[in-house]
Amino acid sequence: MNEYKEIQSGSKPFKRAYVALMLWFVGRAIEAAARVDAAVKAEFDGLSPGFTFSLGVMPQGPTMIVGKDDQGLVRYRGWDPEGQKIDLKMKVKNLEGAILMFTFQESTAMASARNRLIVDGEVPAACAIVRVLDIVEVYLLPKLIAKLAVKRYPDWSFGEKIRNRIRIYGGAIFGL
């Protein structure tokens, strides 16, 4: 039967690399935001000691891990879940879903409404992390895009937002 063939599913190296970069960036931005923004800090303070979560893509990554250390400080913990105790796993069902999210065509709320995310863990913690992601997005994105990414754009004072944004960018890129 010459109409028959077997195909190995290929890979999408560029999309993977892009998502991996974005995850790295968001992970470090969360670490910085927890130092800079009171609301983000309060959300993490409300979570159990040592709380760690991951955000990644199925079936095999990329992934980013963020957790609280012994002093209660929020740390970006890299991309490898191996050997880490993870309390909350948020997984995008496939790479294209992650691309939709990280090119800001679909907000977190829309992605979950469209069932593109699987959440494994305690629900209250998941709620807190989604609120954190929303705040971080507002810092990282220009207002025009962030307005599409979150349900309600916060009415922060301009000066404070700019100050915090610079510190978060600095933290995410240079680890300051």
Binding site: A113, R114, D155
Partner: protein, 414 residues
């Protein structure tokens, strides 16, 4: 009709509805190659004579392996394991769950234990842990409201380890749901009213929620039309068989809608009020539904206006301008609460300060609203609500719902 950019929908439960639907159970089990089911139910259901009706409908054609009629209201892992052992001892091969939410959850838990030979149920909690079909499960709901006869979630508590395990899987869906008017005929007026408002809330929140889709829309509209035409009627006249059957259908339709399109802030606040003050779920839904409409209105005006058609019918719909429809919908829901209040001799509560506990004391003291707002922040249903809410927003809505006044549009941050 709206087609979203992407949606998913599933309800693989066979629905059998009618005044003599129970009689179809033997045939259904035969199709599923089961011969010896175990009936799972609770004392209240059995005491009301409902198990006898089920037995009467099936016993000529079916051997019942066991009847477990002692599922407690807050069932847990111990109950699940004990009944799973009974199932095995009696060599059963299917389950018939007769009752409300707790009975359904327990039956689903038993099903995991007996199908997967699980000694530790915990291994199967979370999404995607179940990979193959379980034993046949037939659901016979005895209230018209929760929709748990068509949902894929089960919650089993572990009182010893202070854990609440949630199981989510398509394999937890019952194979069939039996909607028979005889099962709800003896439901008291106040419970009929509250559970019916729960069903209405499922349909309305599904219709304006972020995950709405054409099939959840079609089932939600059908449910709303049935509830609008029958809930007040059946609360006034509990022995109306046609209205009972219509409500059973409505609850299942609304269950299909919300299990695919999810619920929003009315449930977020309702779950929180239930867990802080112990108020029955349906009572919270009835009180909070108008506020869900008011709070989200600026994001969903047109969609909400469409609800006037199934609620008010053709003439009211045609006679109301587009701009006024959402107002009419909100007024309609409030009027429905008032009518149910009157029809139940004042037992159906319209606002939180009116809700009484078993000793007749106020069940929702005003100072507990702070706790409720805090608890609401941890409920996942908020993801699917069109507008965001923080602690202050939750509290603002709760204050209004406590007092029974409309939301001040000026206080809704957009």
């Amino acid at each position: 009709m709206e087609l979203p950019g992407y949606y998913e929908y599933y309800c693989g439960v066979k629905i059998i509805a009618g005044h003599d639907a129970l009689e179809r159970i033997p045939g259904i089990l035969q199709d599923l190659h089961a011969r010896r089911p175990m009936i799972v139910t609770d004392k209240g259901v059995a005491g009301a004579g409902l198990v006898d009706i089920v037995l009467g409908a099936v016993k000529d054609q079916l051997t019942i392996g066991a009847v477990a009629d002692d599922v407690p209201p807050d069932s847990d892992l111990r109950v699940v394991n004990r009944l799973a052992a009974l199932y095995r001892e009696q060599d059963c091969d299917a389950l018939i769950a007769v009752g409300g939410g707790s009975v359904m959850d327990t039956a689903k838990g038993i099903n995991i234990v007996v199908s997967e030979r699980a000694d530790d149920l915990m291994k199967f909690s979370g999404a995607g842990a179940l990979k193959r079909p379980l034993k046949p499960l037939v659901a016979v709901p005895t209230t018209a409201g929760t929709g748990s006869e068509v949902t894929l979630v089960a919650v089993v508590k572990d009182h010893e380890r202070h854990l609440k395990m949630a199981f989510v899987s398509y394999f937890l869906l019952p194979n069939a749901s039996i909607l028979d008017s005889r099962m709800t005929l003896s439901l008291p007026a106040a419970i009929t009213a509250a559970t019916g408002m729960d069903a209405l809330t499922h349909a309305v929140e599904a219709y304006y929620g972020l995950s709405k889709n054409p099939l959840s829309d079609a089932t939600a509209l059908a449910a709303i039309r049935l509830i609008s035409g029958n809930l007040v009627k059946v609360t006034r006249n509990p022995s109306d068989r046609e209205a009972r059957l219509a409500m059973a259908n409505a609850a299942a339709l609304a269950g299909m809608a919300f299990s695919n399109s999810m619920v929003g802030m009315v449930h977020t606040l309702g779950h929180a009020t239930g867990s802080v003050c112990g108020v029955p779920h349906g009572v919270c839904m009835a009180i909070l539904l108008p506020y869900g409409l008011e709070y989200n209105r600026h994001k969903r005006e047109a969609v909400m206006g469409e609800l006037l058609f199934p609620m008010g019918g053709s003439d009211v719909f045609a006679g109301t301008t587009k701009e006024q429809r959402t107002d009419r919908v909100i007024a309609y829901v409030r009027q429905m609460n008032q009518d149910l209040h009157d029809a139940s001799g004042g037992r159906h509560a319209r606002f939180f300060k009116e809700v009484l506990d078993r000793e007749g004391k106020p069940a929702v003291p005003r100072e507990r609203l702070l706790d409720i707002a805090r608890t609401a922040l941890g409920d996942g249903s908020i993801f699917y609500n069109p507008e965001d809410l923080d602690y202050d927003d939750f509290l603002m809505v709760l204050e209004a719902a406590w007092e029974g006044v409309a939301l001040d549009p000026g206080c809704i941050r957009t």
